[in-house]
């Protein structure tokens, strides 16, 4: 056919290579950006302020309940053991007086301090911490709403993860595992017989004063840090543990 | 209008007539597309299937078309591997029919599974013990083979074939067609067998269950044999219907009779094994499971008439008609026998699917009935319409029948 006349000028593999590179780079670089969106935590939480500042222990908030289940995020009630705001209604009324209506009490967060009723409750010293604490009290404690934290290690409802079953696993044990185990290698560096939280959770979170954004997969809603099944299975296999479906699923 | 695209030296109906026909097909298709849209959107609760009849019209339809589509691999095997030259006059049609049947079945299957988004799990997380895994692998692979077999025929389209590259490609593919025919035969035999195995392994379903020797290899071969016994004559029937519709002779009768003879011999072989199997089932498997032969049947829709129709009227009778040359050589008898033969196989697939599930296994349970609803009919008809469309396009534009010119000159 007529159009079939060969065009010699680009006879080489250039367009091919170009196509390959453009798409490959886009696929590796742009795709993850599109796939994941950053979501800010409800407010900034400083582990440092609590651990170093107040000398709290991890177990004060993240402990095993009597039934063996693990209390992940502390509830308002637990936070209120220190952050005691008394009668929430009184605080709401005091805030409403400033903002004019109980419906928009969160507007007080636009100002850096005040009213007195709120300032009086603040326990933090650092300006950043103060703002975070103000947000916590006004948005959640005062209104009786639990904090909707994003869980970096979020697992879907069909997964039953037992913290209890993994509680006695030490970093040293993991570090000693044979085989190409990413986490194990990372763990090896600071292997000690302490807690193994770093194995899955944000590394050394107790030393952080910020709460990095939660990276959410737009399609699945998973966190970028959500451990996939093959990772669970690999470690189970290395530890000679069962990989039967009902060990983890519900 | 589109006459430039017609096969070399062929005449086709007017464009208006053609459009009318396409309109009819499209109406059927659209109805099915609407049904499948609802099914994908709302889930298969839209259908009349239920927890007792999880396999129903769709699976029966799938099994039936897969059996009837077996003409493709078997004729291919005979032509390319056993080098029966005569068959080249109909081989293109068998490939097209096979392609329609398999791709249609796969379309139905994606609708039939509750979670189409996870369809690929069959490859990624296969359970090697499951017959269905084997079926999934083989059907998809064989469908690919059928596409490869179909492609050269498309490439031979008059206008396309002017292109040197395409011409060469088509030629080369033809040269290597024996290889694909071989692969196709292998895959197809495998999954036809696995389909049989799918039912044979149902240990809790006395109507279908077979054990020991009667599951492997028996059930497998029964399905393979029944498929190859009906596939060729199904192609003959399609061909004959096309001849009636177009008013042309497309394949010489000798070839059809040969196909009939092949199918007839296969049917005899099949029936021999099938009778043995039935006998062993009724006298050995059933009593061991605590059942009697009579308990397998109930009322009209699950009546014994189905059993006798399958094995005698649509089994033995067409087998005789097909192997005795005197009968086979009379067209009306050949076509009747072909029709009976295909009906028999459809009944077989139906009872294995529906009756198997309907039979109450727990003594305090009862027989339930199932009737498909409009959405299942519409989607099944959609596949029929899709088949008609492919056949129409192929006939109009592709050189399907090498003898057409000479027979109609």
């Amino acid at each position: 056919m007529e159009e079939m006349r060969a065009s010699k000028q680009y006879g080489g593999a250039l367009p091919f290579l170009l196509g390959f590179l453009v798409v490959a780079v886009a696929g590796w670089v742009l795709f993850p950006d599109i796939l994941f969106v950053d979501k800010e935590q409800p407010f900034r939480f400083s582990h440092v302020a609590h651990v170093e500042g107040q000398g709290m222990l991890c177990e004060d908030c993240h402990y095993f309940r009597e039934d063996g289940s693990f209390a992940g995020f502390p509830t308002n009630e637990e936070c209120a053991m220190c952050h005691d705001i008394g009668d929430p209604q009184e605080l709401v009324d005091a805030l409403a007086e400033v903002t004019g209506s109980p419906d928009n009490i969160e507007d007080v967060l636009k100002q850096e301090e005040g009213p007195e009723a709120l300032d009086y409750l603040i326990l933090s010293a650092e300006p950043e911490d103060i703002q975070a604490e103000r947000a916590f009290i006004v948005k959640y404690l005062a209104q009786g709403k639990e904090v909707p934290w994003y869980n970096y290690q979020f697992q879907p409802d069909n997964v039953f993860f037992s913290h209890k079953a993994h509680a006695d696993l030490t970093m040293a044990q993991v570090a000693a595992l044979e085989g190409g185990h990413g986490e194990a290698e990372a763990a090896e560096a600071d292997a000690e017989d302490g807690t193994n939280c770093n194995l899955c959770h944000l590394e050394d979170i107790h030393l952080r004063s910020d709460t990095p954004p939660f990276q959410e997969n737009v399609m699945t809603g998973y966190s970028k840090m959500t451990m996939k099944m093959w990772q669970c299975e690999r470690c189970h296999a290395q530890m000679h543990q069962s990989n039967a479906c009902y060990v983890c699923h519900k | 209008m589109d006459s430039k695209l017609f096969p070399e030296g062929a005449t086709r109906c007017s464009f208006g007539q053609y459009l009318l026909w396409l309109g009819f097909i499209s109406a059927m298709l659209l109805w099915g597309v609407y049904a499948s849209f609802l099914i994908f959107y709302n889930g298969i609760g839209v259908t009349a299937m239920d927890n007792y009849f999880g396999f129903a019209l769709w699976i029966t339809f799938d099994l039936a078309v897969i059996a009837l589509g077996a003409g493709a691999f078997f004729s291919g095997f005979l032509k390319y591997i056993l080098k029966i030259k005569q068959l080249e006059k109909i081989i293109n049609l068998t490939v097209i029919v096979g392609f329609i049947c398999y791709s249609g079945a796969m379309l139905i299957l994606t609708m039939d599974i509750g979670q189409p988004g996870r369809a690929w799990f069959g490859y990624w997380h296969p359970n090697v013990h499951s017959m269905l895994t084997e079926v999934i692998f083989c059907i998809t692979c064989y469908c690919t083979v059928l596409i490869i077999e179909f492609v050269p025929l498309i490439l031979e389209q008059k206008q396309l074939n002017r292109n040197k590259f395409i011409h060469a490609l088509a030629h080369n593919m033809h040269v290597h067609m024996a290889l694909f025919a071989g692969i196709g035969t292998f895959l197809s035999t495998f999954h036809q067998g696995s389909l049989g195995g799918m039912y044979g392994v149902l240990i809790g379903r006395p109507y279908a269950y077979r054990d020991g020797f009667f599951i492997w290899p028996w059930t497998f071969f029964l399905f393979v044999l029944s498929a190859v016994a009906s596939g060729p004559v199904f192609t003959v029937l399609i061909c004959t219907i096309m001849e009636k519709v177009t008013g042309k002779k497309l394949v010489e009768y000798k070839v059809k009779a040969l196909m009939g003879k092949i199918a007839g011999s296969m049917l005899c072989l099949y029936l021999f094994f099938k009778y043995l199997d039935t006998w062993a089932w009724a006298t050995d498997v059933l009593p061991r499971m605590g059942f009697t032969f009579d308990q397998m049947f109930y009322g009209l829709i699950y009546g014994k008439w189905l059993f006798w129709s399958e094995l005698i009227v649509c089994g033995l009778v067409p087998a005789i008609m097909l192997i005795v040359p005197a009968f086979r050589n009379r067209p009306w008898m050949l076509y009747t026998a072909a029709l009976l033969n295909c009906t028999g196989i459809v009944i077989n697939r139906y009872v294995f699917t529906v009756q198997t599930l309907a039979l109450p296994v727990m003594p305090f349970d009862k027989w339930y009935t199932y009737a498909p609803n409009w959405s299942e009919y519409a989607t099944s008809l959609m596949i029929v319409a899709y088949g008609l469309l492919v056949l129409t396009l192929s006939y109009r534009y592709l050189p399907v029948f090498p003898q057409e010119r000479e027979l109609n000159s």
Partner: protein, 665 residues
């Protein structure tokens, strides 16, 4: 540098290959499948601390003591309470579904005032209180209360309120307790609350009482049965069910004695006849009269005619009762005082009064609100009789925890007509709420204070109180608390301001009520018994109740429709059960569509041929045919309560002997 076709194709091929080496396709494929596992429209689970909170559910007639399972403080399920003697770990099919009912679409959202036919306008509790106070002020003493709460101290609050207003028109909905109370405390002049020590008995005869399914403290009865029939061991006691058809109770009893629906008291009196023949005697001035009544009307031959129980089986059964070391007879049919009285007489003849494993009379738990009526007096008023006679015509009628429009249809429907202003305290949008002038949403049992004071039938003084498990999600409150607030509004002093305090006082009163009482003085209910020998000679209706379908006040709960058989309900059509003989005689077969009629009212049904029904009897389920509630019950089947015929015996209204006709449609 022009882009020609060839270059474009090359570019595309390169791009495609490039795509294949990126995660785009593979990750997308994987994520699509993960997406199908976490669809946004599929609800997710709550996390948090899990607890089991003891509570009381009064959704079923006898009330269940149970534990509410909560996660993060939110209830999600109920389970039996092993530590509670009423429950011992079990629960009934209504209370098993109690938590979903917290968020039932059919809950009354807030107080509502009727503005026209079927039209309501929301009001605040304060407005409702003022309106009602005004109405009551104007009504003077022309006030009545209809209560469906068989067990709670709420009755005392309403009763005290009524007394302060100068009325004693306190009506209870018909119940087995009403029948027994009228027989024992009324006809027989007895003292205390009748109960049955089923757990201690070695021979239990359920005469008409569907005690393992819907009668009395069902779960506690079932516990007693369970303990007497340990799995894999010999049964420690014998359970016999006597009644017109096989039902849930009979399916586990050791034997079934078919008794015609109209012959339950005759059956019991026949037993009494046999016992007296065997030398049993009663210390009573009426014994001679009893004996002559039995001789004249209830000889075994006569009883056989009335009940369908042969002389031989009757004598055998009497013999078994006599030989048993601790027999007990639990008699109730159609809330008939006569049947209850006959049952009590049999127990007395057997010497089973206040004995281990026998019939007991529990001391009354004293009212804690001074002006409240005591329990027997509360059961004395006869709503059907008063509605029929016109004696019921209050200016204001308060309906507490009852659904008379549904459960007592021939009379209940007239209540709204006869009373000038009706107030329904309803948790759900039931039939009564649909016609009331003021609808006050009662809190769900898990949102309120409530108690169980001696659920009828228990053998020991039993008191269980519960406090709210969860804050109300709607603008609702406990009905007794509202009654207390209302009294305060009207300046009436009931002695309490807070229902919680009433319960505390009641608990103390219950603690004081120990042991048994039980003198009876006059009469044996003979007048009531003497006319129990009449039969209609027609097809008789056996209306039976199953909790999974519902009760007189509760409709089918959200998760119960799947437990209802397809031989009980098919689409919107319910089934009635008849024997094949009955079917043949009436030209019917399985699946026939029929019209049941009695008293000029009709019900449609399909026929289920069931050999477990006596010939000449139509067994029909109660609990269907709701005209209100939600899609789980509304419009399904017919309301068989409509077909029940009230017979005004001397002891009070009863529902025995309902004659029906069955006609093919």
């Amino acid at each position: 540098m022009g882009l020609n076709r060839r270059a474009f194709i090359q570019f595309s091929v390169g791009g495609t290959l490039g795509l294949l080496v990126t995660p785009v396709i593979w990750k997308t494929l994987d994520d699509v499948s993960i997406w199908t596992q976490n669809w946004g429209w599929i609800p997710t689970l709550k996390k948090g601390v899990e607890e089991r909170v003891p509570a009381v559910s009064k959704l079923c007639p006898s009330g269940c003591a149970l534990r509410v399972e909560t996660v993060g403080g939110e209830p999600y399920s109920t389970t039996g309470d092993e530590d509670n003697p009423l429950s011992k770990g079990g629960l009934c099919p209504i209370c098993a579904d109690a938590v979903p009912l917290l968020y039932s679409p059919t809950r009354v959202q807030g107080p509502m005032v009727r503005t026209g036919e079927g039209q309501y306008q929301p009001v605040s509790w304060d407005e409702a209180k003022k309106l009602l106070a005004e109405k009551l002020g104007a009504a003077g003493s022309s006030v009545a209360v209809i209560s469906g709460d068989d067990t709670g101290s709420g009755n005392e609050v309403f009763s005290a309120l009524l007394a302060e207003l100068g009325s004693d028109d306190y009506y209870m909905m018909p119940s087995p307790q009403m029948a027994a109370t009228r027989a024992w405390n009324g006809l027989m002049g007895g003292e205390g609350q009748i109960g049955y020590d089923i757990a201690g008995s070695d021979f239990v005869l359920f005469a008409g009482a569907d005690a393992l399914s819907s009668w009395g403290p069902t779960v506690s009865n079932m516990n007693a049965f369970a303990e007497s029939h340990p799995a894999g061991e010999k049964a420690k006691s014998t359970y016999v069910y006597a009644g017109p058809a096989r039902n849930h109770t009979s399916s586990v009893c050791d034997s079934w004695v078919p008794v015609h629906p109209e012959g339950m008291s005759a059956f019991l009196l026949g037993l009494a006849y046999n016992l007296i023949t065997e030398g049993r005697y009663l210390e009573s001035g009426d014994f001679a009269a009893l004996r002559s009544l039995l001789a004249s009307k209830y000889s075994p031959a006569q009883v056989e005619k009335l009940t369908g129980v042969s002389k031989k089986s009757l004598a055998e059964l009497a013999g078994k009762l006599l030989r048993a070391s601790a027999p007990v007879v639990v008699a109730d049919y159609g809330c008939s005082p006569a049947v209850a009285a006959a049952g009590i007489i049999v127990n007395l003849l057997l010497g089973r009064m206040n004995t281990w494993g026998g019939m007991v009379a529990l001391p009354e738990v004293e009212p804690v609100l001074g002006s409240a009526l005591d329990r027997p007096t509360r059961f004395a008023k006869d709503l059907p009789a008063d509605v029929a006679s016109g004696a019921f015509a209050p200016k204001v009628c308060l309906i507490y925890d009852a659904n008379p429009v549904y459960g007592l249809p021939q009379y209940g429907e007239k209540i709204a007509e006869k009373a000038e202003f009706t107030v329904a305290f309803s948790t759900f949008k039931d039939e009564t709420a649909a016609v009331a002038d003021l609808v006050l949403p009662a809190a769900h049992p898990f949102e309120r204070y409530d108690d169980l004071v001696n659920p009828f039938g228990v053998a020991n003084t039993t008191y269980v109180a519960s406090s709210p498990v969860v804050k109300p999600s709607l603008d609702v409150m406990g009905a007794p608390q509202f009654a207390l607030d209302l009294a305060a509004e009207m300046g009436l002093d009931l002695g309490f301001e807070n229902f919680e305090e009433v319960l505390e006082a009641k608990a103390e009163a219950a603690e004081a009520a120990v042991g048994t009482v039980g003198s009876y003085s006059v009469g044996l209910g003979l007048p009531a018994l003497s006319d129990a020998d009449k039969t209609s000679g027609q097809l008789a209706l056996y209306a039976y109740s199953q909790l999974h379908i519902g009760s007189a006040s509760m409709a089918t709960t959200p998760h119960n429709p799947t437990t209802i058989r397809d031989t009980e309900l098919q689409g919107k059509q319910m089934f009635v059960r008849i024997n094949s003989e009955t079917a043949k005689a009436n030209g019917l077969k399985a699946g026939s569509k029929v019209r049941l009629s009695a008293n000029g009212v009709e019900c449609q049904a399909l026929v289920h041929v069931d050999e477990g029904v006596m010939p000449g009897v139509v067994a029909a389920p109660l609990g269907f045919g709701h005209t209100a509630w939600d899609e789980f019950s509304m419009g399904k089947g017919g309301n068989v309560y409509k077909l029940l015929t009230v017979s005004a015996g001397s002891g009070g209204s009863a529902w025995t002997g309902s004659a029906v006709t069955i006609a093919k449609m």
